[in-house]
Symmetry: C2
Subunit: 417 residues, 2 copies
């Protein structure tokens, strides 16, 4: 069973907007065993709409559109599809009453144009919209299923889950899509590719996508099958072989973020963490605290952009900064140890580097970042050289810091010393 | 002149990847006076490719594709387009020599499959690719222009700028697209719409997009015109009327971010800033330090997630926390004043709130955030009630904090007291 997605709206043909509903719809359709073979974006123009839906009806079993169901004269999806299928539009009094009721609830008069949203092609089923005035529509014609959905994701997504999924489930074939998601830190994409390509070539039925997402590499194997047990066995076997090839660089097989994995490690070790950040300017703390419940293990952070703050708040000795410079192994170690001690945490992290664009020298170029980890027993430091612009360097530095904490937690017993 | 963009690649039909080349291409085409009327995504499948290019040749003056020019058997764009236009493919020895040379430079043998990338449809112009092995192709047929580009943005973008723009400039009509970008903080989308709709209705030739981007509202007026002076006059007049209607809520007319506007204000006032953050956990500091040169005005930040840190590092009196609770106007004020004093900054910001999902009470619900600003003369606080999930509440809180600093800087003379 093949599907096609049409996003309707002239604003989606500007450089400012992109259709993202199709990602949600694709994931949901794949779960039902339906593959997406075409996606299109088309403006609110009758001849373009006719052409897009006409072509789709030639090609695809299921056609899903988003947008163009609003109350204004720009919104032409309903009319165009009805005309294309030779169906008359009739006013549905029940829908109209629902729209009137919605306006009454918000104490506003219903503009007359909203009555257009109650026009339904003959033979169409109405898909209720509890989040907005535009109902969706389900039509069957010429052996095809045509589904018209509203554009706002907050309306489209619950309508799809509640109304469309149960209807499609009855029609969809036995084939289902099985997937896994593996996440890797600390290896460039080409190295990941090199380590796993010999493995995935042995599974010709599995399609694999290797994605560089922000600062990590993700592996997404996808397998269509009518046999759940066999599909899961193949994907589990393949994932295990990937895990062996990737070693400690693999940090997640269940879609967790790196900060969530670090959170789990800290919970497991009953350890607490604090961070002193210079060039990353609070990004590490922001990522750590984005995990709900992080107050259980994150004591706090110091963003010490100035040398004065490194000295007075974190407790880095002034002589250390003078002797080695603010961007140095020695200062990173003193920051990690100082923030750990000052906040009475089990683990301290120190980050100091040059995010650029200016401030680099031949000896200490832009992109040089020192990351140190301290516990009660001592501290260690690693120097990184990152490429890219300021934002990229800062992102890579927070990723490397989180990954350093993750690897440290694999072996250390910080809570027991 | 109308254009259509076709993104080729089966991976773009999964839930994991989205075509973003079309945004770059749309902006570049619009600057040349060419409107985009359709975007499609299609897999590496000959019949689907034939259908997509065949349809486009019926509709559009310019057809631009990205992807499908690689060396493997999956990459079929070249072959399919040649077949569709009835052109034979011939091997271009110059291109082949270039590919061989590229491999030699990297000390790698050229796999024989790469020779496919030297196959060119008769009558096509080759578009050199200094960043990769796949050259682009320019074809003219049936009164249409067909342009095949490689998929990776790092190859597509320079090729488009260097090879395609000069060729299209010669053909494109006098019409050009003129745009403005206005950014608004502190007003919901519906309020912005209400304030400006009476104005933009008086300019029927200007198309306006109102976007809610993260936590701010953007207005993008677009006007097609063959008269630069008149178009700029209309857009300037309209923007001035928007500015009057939006008042202080309008923070940028040149595309700057809110943190960049705050940076300008701090520079202008020769003021320095420090922040004490609880629920935002470093996000405010991270946004402020993402501006290059921020060390000139940002002294540093304290992420005081625990009460102990609020007391020992920021200097909030323990009695204040005990009497009013950590999330209170009084604690926000003490945080702002404490961090200002401790870092010897002109301005201090304090943020304390409940980001959720847990921790809320009837009296202090999830989403309640106190934001305080202190200078040498005193301090003020404002309570906000934000909706949404943890990430949304934290984002809104940093946006409100930046906006509070911006508005404060419009009137205050912190450097002169």
């Amino acid at each position: 069973m093949h599907a096609e997605i049409i996003a309707v709206g002239s604003e989606l043909l500007t450089p400012d907007r992109i259709d993202t509903n199709s990602l949600f719809l694709t994931a949901a359709l794949n779960r039902l065993g339906i593959e997406v073979i075409r996606k299109s974006v088309v403006g609110d123009d009758p001849s373009q709409l006719r052409d897009a839906f006409g072509g789709a009806l030639e090609r695809s079993d299921v056609i899903i559109s988003s947008g163009g169901l609003g109350p204004t004269e720009d919104d032409l999806t309903r009319e165009t599809v009805a005309e294309l299928l030779g169906r008359r539009l009739r006013r549905d009094e029940e829908i109209l009453a629902g729209i009137r009721e919605r306006f009454r609830r918000y104490n506003r008069p219903m503009p007359e144009t909203n009555a257009r949203q109650a026009m339904v092609p003959e033979g169409a089923e109405m898909l209720p919209n509890p989040r907005g005035t535009a109902p969706g529509l389900w039509l069957e014609a010429r052996g095809r299923i045509v589904i018209l959905l509203p554009g706002p994701p907050g309306e489209l997504e619950p309508m799809f889950e509640r109304e469309v999924v149960p209807r499609l489930e009855k029609r969809s074939p036995g084939l289902r899509l099985y997937t896994r998601e593996l996440r890797v830190a600390g290896l460039p994409e080409s190295d990941v590719e090199e380590r796993v390509s010999g493995i995935y070539r042995q599974y010709p039925d599995v399609r694999i996508t290797i994605l560089a997402v922000s600062t990590e590499i993700q592996l997404h194997p996808r397998l269509w099958s009518d046999n759940a047990r066999e599909a899961n066995r193949v994907l589990d076997e393949m994932s295990e072989r990937f895990a062996l090839a990737l070693g400690e660089n693999l940090f997640s097989t269940r879609g967790q973020t790196l900060e969530e994995v670090v959170a789990e490690g800290l919970h497991r070790q009953q350890a607490t963490l604090a961070a002193a950040e210079s060039c990353t300017g609070g990004m590490l703390a922001a990522r750590l605290t984005n995990v709900a419940g992080s107050s259980a293990y994150f004591r706090g952070g110091i963003v010490c952009y100035s040398n004065e703050m490194k000295i007075s708040v974190v407790g880095v000795p002034a002589e250390t900064i003078e002797a080695y410079g603010a961007v140095s192994s020695e200062v990173a170690l003193a920051m990690a140890d100082g923030v750990r001690h000052g906040t009475d945490s089990t683990i301290g992290v120190g980050i100091t580097g040059i995010a650029g664009p200016s401030g680099g020298t031949a000896e200490k170029p832009v992109g040089l970042v020192h990351i140190a980890i301290a516990d009660r027993a001592g501290s260690r430091d690693k120097a990184f050289q990152f490429a890219g612009d300021r934002q990229r360097i800062r992102l890579n530095a927070t990723q490397a810091a989180l990954d350093s904490v993750r690897r440290y937690l694999l072996y250390a017993k910080p809570g027991r010393e």
